[in-house]
Structure formats: C-alpha cells, structure tokens
Symmetry: C2
Subunit: 125 residues, 2 copies
DNA sequence: GACGTTGGATTACAAATGTAATATTTTAGG
DNA sequence: CCTAAAATATTACATTTGTAATCCAACGTC
C-alpha cells in the first residue's frame, strides 16, 4: 500500500475527473471541469502539477503533451478521508457519527434496504 | 441559525473540549489537551484566540481571566463538516458514501442493531 | 525559417494554518 | 509600593492552499 498524499479540496475535483475518465490531457481535464468550477485553465494546470509533485498522478507522454492519470487508488484515498474526517469531527468514535449521518441523510426506500443489507451482512460475521 | 465559521483541523480539538466541558479557562483547556496533543500552551492560546475572532467561541470574564465557551452549536458544525466531506470526496452523492462507511467500520453487535433501528425508523416515515 | 499558437515549467502572491515566542498588563505577596 | 507570576495581546514565521500570470520550448504554417 502506497503512502497516500494529502489532497486538499480543490485538487479532489481534479482527482475525481482523472479517476473517472482515465488518462486525460490537461485540456481535457479543463474541459471536464468547465461549468463545474470557475477556474481558469492555468489554475487547473497548477493543480495537476501539484498533484504530480505529490505523486498522486503520473503521466505518459503523447507527442508533446502529457496524458495524466491517477497514481493512487480512489478507494484508498476515500478511506483515508473518511478516517480523518471521523477523527477530526468525532474524535475517532465511529458509531455516533454513523448514527448522525444516517439520521440526517435523505434516503430512498431502496437506499435504506441496501444499507440494511450491509448491516445484516456484517452482523453475520 | 448563525453563520458557521470555518474550523480547521487543530481548532476542532479545542472546540471539542469546549463543547464537552463547558466554559473553561485557557489553562483548563490546555490541561484537557495534555497528552492528546504535543502543543505548547501558547499554541493552544493562539487557537482559542483565533476561534474567538471567528466568533466560534465567546468568553465571560472571571476576575482577570476568561472562561471560554462555544458560541456555535456542535450539531450544526458537525452537520456542516459532514456535508462538506461528502461533497468533497463523493461529489455530493450520499448513499455510496454511507455504504462504504458501513462496510468499512468496525461495529459491535450493539452498534449494528442500533443503526438498523435508525434505518427502520426512517423507513417508516 | 520567422512567427504565432499551444503546452508545459516557473514564478507570484495573498490568505489560511500550524506552531510558537515576545510583550504587556494585572494582581497577589512581601 | 515593587516585583514576580500569571493572563492576555501582539507579533512571528514557515507551509499549504487558492488562484493565477508569465516564461519558454516545440510545432505547424506561410
């Protein structure tokens, strides 16, 4: 398991694009984010560069441009964020957090039965 | 409902102390955090001051010292953090996040039945 | 082959954050 | 009163983050 870099808010947007759309050129990333943010293209380039320096993305050369792709797993990053969120806000105790989350969430009947299934699954372990 | 200030990681620790132990002097806060962090007392004073500037804590004078107490609701702050967490990491979709949370959490049998109860409650609405 | 265009590399710069140290003001004790 | 101790207030300073702009190199065009 790689060492996970710290990914701040704005870089998450870029990572989410790269995770979902695989290797993209900088301009493609810019295009993906148009409408979702008001960032100038240069800003997005900067974010990509920073992610590279942290080792969160890599690239393959394609002619004179680069195609960027994630170098860290989305699942791992998400897990880490979840963990650090719980620690920060709830001091590490998970259950009250989950309870609050569940109570507060707007859930469809489907969502609910899905989640119950997960719990029952765990119950059996 | 007040406007909620932004509370960064380290200040959360201070807020959690104040939320749980009511009005405290700076030194009492320091004492509460001893062992939990390696911060120097001065650092903690700084954090308190910043929280005051943001309006997250207020104080009453007691002789020459102050007793600090939270000026914003824990529930509200936590809700906001939860919300911004989901938005950042999952782009706003709550269910997959909850699913991942539940799957990943270490839960006792009790926790599980508690959480199921919450879900059933919501089911009935 | 000079030149504009297009991409990446380098630089910019303010605000927020982490982590304190120094300065100043009270006040309790001698 | 004068001073040491204790509190608060002010100042410090490196990093990180948000948000770009400028510089430079390669490429395709006339």
């Amino acid at each position: 398991m790689q060492k996970l870099p710290k990914i701040p808010e704005s870089e998450w947007l870029v990572m989410r694009v790269l995770w979902s759309k695989g290797p993209l050129t900088a301009n493609e990333v810019v295009k993906e984010l148009t409408g979702k943010t008001k960032w100038k293209p240069k800003t997005i380039k900067t974010l990509i560069t920073r992610l590279m320096k942290k080792g969160a993305v890599k690239f393959e050369k394609e002619g004179r441009k680069y195609r960027y792709y994630p170098a860290v797993s989305e699942a791992e990053c998400v897990r880490m964020e979840r963990y650090s969120f719980v620690r920060r806000v709830y001091g590490g105790t998970t259950r009250p957090m989950l309870a609050a989350f569940l109570e507060d969430a707007k859930l469809s009947a489907e969502d609910i039965s899905e989640l119950k299934k997960i719990l029952e699954q765990k119950e059996g372990e």
